[in-house]
Symmetry: C2
Subunit: 345 residues, 2 copies
């Protein structure tokens, strides 16, 4: 499935996202639906995050790990019922993984891909748009909580989540036939707030330190390497896939670490399509996975995984970009003022 | 991963494929490598085809089924060693499926994606090109057998397989760094034989009755519905995923069946992007999954799944095409003279 990446241009879309509000077509964000009497136990098996406090109506950002502790996906988990979950996927396929795991698990679960097409309404004015569309209860919807609701006959799940680092919402349409109707309804409600078409913003998400699956993390990375220890509970009673490996990895210590890198010189015209090699003292020390020029920070910001010994803030490194070799510095991450940064729940 | 679909145009490429020889970049055809002391037993678990006669050095076309008997993929299996297999995939992801299945299987297997990039050399003159490149042993390589070999330092697996319905070979390059070198070597060896760039030909594969995963079959179809009972052995001693479901399905009988359809009227300008509805007596009876105009047969040929009761040769049906409603007739399948058709091994 394809996804629009920008409408006017990435920078215009970005300013609208941080000043007003934008509507994104993220229907490619597929859902893995898990039901059955053992659904809760099975979902816990899939992730190192301790879900014992996850209530019905709540969402959690989770990592899905394989038996080596490598990351398969980093979806948002939505708990629609005691034994009714969605994994709202990042850019890899978890449906077959989960079905394969279930096969010999001895658990009573049903795993399928429902007819769900999400859109995102993101930006500081998103709450106003959403309240105009749905009513005042929107103002009470807490960060990383959801509500099931019908709008003009359209079956929806609304959650206060998103991938922008700004205030924002996702609307999960549960019947693809209403796609146009929902889209037009949001655009109509957003008119007074200067709503515009948008898409996941590489600039804004990097400022916020949101990681992109397939680039900043893959199955070759484990949660410790990318700084996501907070989403791993090795002390929980129950088992999860990768627990033994992650225990060993933690005991041994990691040899490489994800960092923020500022790259010297004029604005890079294009980001990296493939990883760029990062150097320390002329020798390769890691790879840069994402890179963009932030007009607000007036800096080339990037995400890289480098040898732990070269990962301290202030370390001087080199990057082989497609526009030549550049000097770079390890900086604190995320890049944008953390006071204004909305943490991932 | 992307794949080139044609070079000059689909019809010019087609004539070159059936008259001469074409070289295809099918690096997107990824390999799932299965090793470990239980590899053979595990591979049998993945497919309903009885693999007890599959020798080292042999290839088998197999269906991968889920627990409901639905088809997840239809790869070519390559047996490189007693406990060393590749699944050369069609268009879906089997790596995570196989890793998930392995998790609780209690079997000692390792499942990974190796650095393998296949190309295909297809067409009646392919044997001449391959012999020029590799030597006379090519003439002895049997249909659906393979050989591991080095060519000018490039580590390769050569198999007499392919997705054209013509005589053809696949060359699996086991080190991506040599991609250009291998490509140029084949083009050089093919010069005297009028070799040209090509790609999987929708026309030729449909003439031959080769099915395309994701279109003609998905996880919603089982082997019986698509006429692939010959790749299911319910009597074999060992277990495989979907065995119970397929037993039930067989006992109950199938309600729909894959057929070849000839569509009346002038050549269709474009194939179907999405399934087209098929009608009987004005009522929907199924869906058309692939459609193309064959210049050699001078007919619009298509593959559809329709209600069993409307699936007999000669049955008159209707199809809602993007160029209007057309009359269609169920015909024997594959479309092209079976005497010249190379059966799938």
């Amino acid at each position: 499935m394809y996804m629009p990446l920008y409408y006017e241009d990435p920078v215009t879309d970005y300013w609208r996202l941080i000043n007003d509000v934008t509507l994104w077509d993220v229907a490619c964000q597929r859902q893995v639906e898990i039901t059955g009497t053992d659904a809760a136990r099975f979902v816990q098996l899939l992730t190192p995050r301790n879900l014992s406090t996850c209530k019905v109506g709540q969402c959690k950002y989770v990592l899905i790990t394989n038996k080596n502790g490598g990351i398969i996906n980093d979806p948002v988990l939505l708990r629609l019922g005691e034994n009714h979950f969605w994994l709202s996927l990042a850019d890899s396929d978890v449906l077959l993984w989960a079905q394969g795991v279930a096969l010999n698990s001895g658990m009573n679960v049903n795993i399928a891909e429902p007819d769900v097409s999400p859109i995102q309404v993101q930006g500081p004015k998103s709450m106003l748009v959403m309240a105009a569309l749905f009513g005042d209860w929107i103002n009470e919807l807490r960060y990383f909580w959801l509500k099931e609701i019908d709008l003009r006959g359209m079956p929806l799940v609304v959650s206060r989540t998103g991938w922008s680092g700004e205030l924002g919402y996702e609307i999960y349409l549960r019947d693809g036939r209403y796609g146009d109707l929902l889209w037009e309804a949001v655009m109509e409600a957003g008119k007074p707030y200067n709503i515009g078409l948008g898409a996941p913003s590489q600039i804004r998400r990097m400022e916020a330190g949101l990681l992109s699956y397939g680039s900043d993390m893959t199955s070759n990375e484990n949660p410790f390497e990318i700084g996501f220890e907070k989403y791993v509970d090795l002390e929980q009673e129950g088992d999860f896939i990768g627990k033994d490996s992650l225990r060993r990895i933690k005991a041994k210590g990691i040899k490489r670490r994800l960092v923020g890198l500022e790259i010297d010189g004029p604005p890079l015209k294009e980001g990296n399509e493939h990883p760029w090699t990062v150097f320390h003292d002329g020798r390769p020390t890691g790879k840069l996975s994402s890179c963009v020029y932030s007009p607000r920070l007036n800096k080339n910001i990037s995400i890289a995984i480098v040898a732990s010994k070269n990962s301290r803030d202030g370390t001087g490194l080199g990057v082989e970009t497609t526009e030549g070799k550049r000097r770079a510095t390890v900086v604190s991450f995320p890049f944008y003022d953390p006071e204004k940064h909305i943490p991932v729940s």
